[in-house]
Point group: C2
Chain length 376, copies 2
């Protein structure tokens, strides 16, 4: 990971550059530029490379003098649409797209991290193609944040959609990636890892989950995490766990179910509070409390799925992100680049991958020994 | 399904008897008896057989004169504990338990439906052993209710935990079972069925989900449902779908995640509204609105996972159910027994199972033909 510096502007001697895909989100490039503007105003150490059609993005950036010398537009004609199949994109006009260009900036070292609110599958595929997986990682994962009960902190959950399947080995890798991310993002020495299941008893769940359960216990020391065992859907915001590990299918459904439930409750609350002029009047004094609640459960505040397991940091912003959401994703990318967690993570990963292999070989040998004995 | 009648009491000439397991829930038999009392008071057509240790349950029922002639205690010494492995229960003291006895009453025709808040796995295994699966059903499923956006109605989702795996055939069966349940519980002629996935595009998801997607479209006419295609976690409370089909692992995680999110938001709201004496004061005028919201999202109101695909109706009440929750589960069991949906469901199921087989054979033949052609 490279910290790009742009000397001589505004007295900020060392800036961190974040690469931002201006196209592809549902809200359009104007919203992305508004998000960049908000971030640039708030953070003097931030610089941005903005990827997209010059003819579209240029006129959006131009009028803002604050962006001069801080935001550079990198021209890329193509746009990845939301519904396109990732393999089609890559085989087709992939290399001409703003998304490709956005990742390319990280690969070349011009930027320290990338942000896009485009097609998740295409972003992951391009990231894998261009940035490559870290040694010891079979499958990268997407990690999301989750409000933690009783605090203003967060839990993280992964995978929430990089891959629809996960073998026990992959789940262990997710634990390592997640623990490394949590350690660096939240300054917690030994994150507590839990494995998502349909119950907390040992006999519950699918066979591959029970195998991962054993492996996760064995690997805790070397992976520098505490393994708290199985957790259920209701425990994702628990204060007793930091990192929740699951396959990308289950994780994606859980994430979207929680967002959907939060939206439903917000709308029901609004409905009840505005059902009549009397209830509207009654709600007025509590508006401040509602706003604070809204802020605490606002999905935009925890916006940004982080791709873990690659040679480079990529943050996937929500497809429907507005300026607030995009600004939150840029902030996250900046913070991760600043913590250099990428560098620290890679060494340990390879080491743990070896340990898992050895553990497996030892088990296999033990099983062989037992069966030979049985035959004798 | 039998409608038990008890002549000569209180002028209710035809009562429907529900079999209730008094033991095994987290809250204990006193809470179950309180739930029965609430149901009996509200519904003059209801009779109950209460299964449990006479020495424990008898003294709880005795003092309530209203229960005389309406609630009969059936003695069963054994109790299934929450953490016990289902197969252990059945191999061990299974037949002496209140849960077994509770299901036995449905099998014998003494009761029209069963309610238990005990160990889900054990309840399902005993139900399968004693009531047997309906013809055409490989795997029974558990269906739960979900608030429907913009209305006071409900969606249902299944499976939420009967089995951790589901093949495409099973998912189609879940659609049929769910549609039949929805039709009868909510008087909707052609329920709309959606398949839970990580995206709505055709290429998304696991291979078995995509296969089920095709089958569900083909079987819609004969199954008398409208297939709306893939839905995501955020769509579970959608007004555009009635029945959400998924495997029991994903469904269980989604259900518990939603419950956990609702609890989290409730607690955060409470925290914000009681943060200071000023915010407490400000919240007072809106207490009515909060209570109405609380009621609409109260998991106890939608309490009761229904076991579908068996020769008999079994309702699984939440393990931590209090009197309100148990009363809701009894009400659901009563309503299902009254609608005789069980009888109407079974005919059609066998018919559809045949159609799925034929469809599969036809595809297989077509594929064979194509490959032979290719070789020629």
């Amino acid at each position: 990971m490279t910290h790009s510096s742009e000397a001589g502007s505004d007295g900020a001697s060392t800036r961190i550059t974040v690469s931002v895909d201006a196209m592809g989100g549902d809200a359009g490039p104007a919203e992305v530029v508004a998000g960049c503007l908000a971030s640039i105003r708030r953070n003097p150490e931030l610089a941005i490379i903005l990827h997209g059609d010059e003819a579209v993005v240029g006129p959006l950036v131009g009028p803002h003098r604050e962006l001069q010398g801080r935001v550079r537009v990198a021209h890329a004609e193509g746009v990845v649409t939301m519904d396109e199949k990732p393999s089609h994109v890559v085989r087709g006009n992939g290399k001409t797209t703003s998304m490709w260009s956005c990742i390319e900036s990280v690969r070349s070292g011009d930027a320290a991290a990338a942000v896009s609110c485009g097609n998740t599958g295409a972003l992951m595929l391009m990231s894998m193609l261009r940035l490559r997986k870290l040694p010891g990682v079979d499958r990268p994962a997407i990690a999301c944040m989750w409000p933690k009960r009783g605090t203003h902190d967060f839990n993280i959950m992964l995978d929430v959609g990089a891959d629809v399947r996960a073998e026990p080995d992959n789940l262990v890798q997710y634990a390592l990636l997640g623990a490394a991310y949590y350690r660096n993002a939240f300054q917690v020495t030994r994150p507590r890892v839990g494995l998502l299941n349909v119950g907390t008893e040992d006999h519950k769940g699918r066979p591959e989950i029970r195998e991962a359960h054993e492996l996760l216990g064995t690997m805790a020391e070397i992976g520098r995490y505490d393994y708290v065992g199985f957790v259920e859907g209701g425990d994702i915001p628990s204060a007793d766990v930091d990192v929740i590990v699951t396959d990308g299918f289950t994780g994606n459904v859980a994430l979207k179910t929680a967002e959907g439930t939060a939206r439903l409750i917000r709308d029901l609350l609004r409905e009840e509070l505005t059902a009549s002029w009397l209830s509207k009047l009654a709600a007025l004094p509590s508006l401040g409390a509602f706003r604070r609640l809204q802020k605490r459960i606002d999905p935009r505040r925890v916006n940004g799925g982080v791709f873990l397991g690659l040679n480079g940091t990529v943050v996937k912003s929500h497809g429907a992100s507005d300026a607030t959401g995009i600004s939150a994703a840029i902030k996250l990318a900046f913070r991760l680049a600043q913590s250099r967690f990428q560098d620290r993570m890679s060494d340990r990963l390879a080491q743990v991958a070896d340990a898992v292999q050895q553990d497996r070989a030892a088990r296999h040998e033990a099983a062989q020994g037992a069966s030979t004995k049985g035959e004798a």
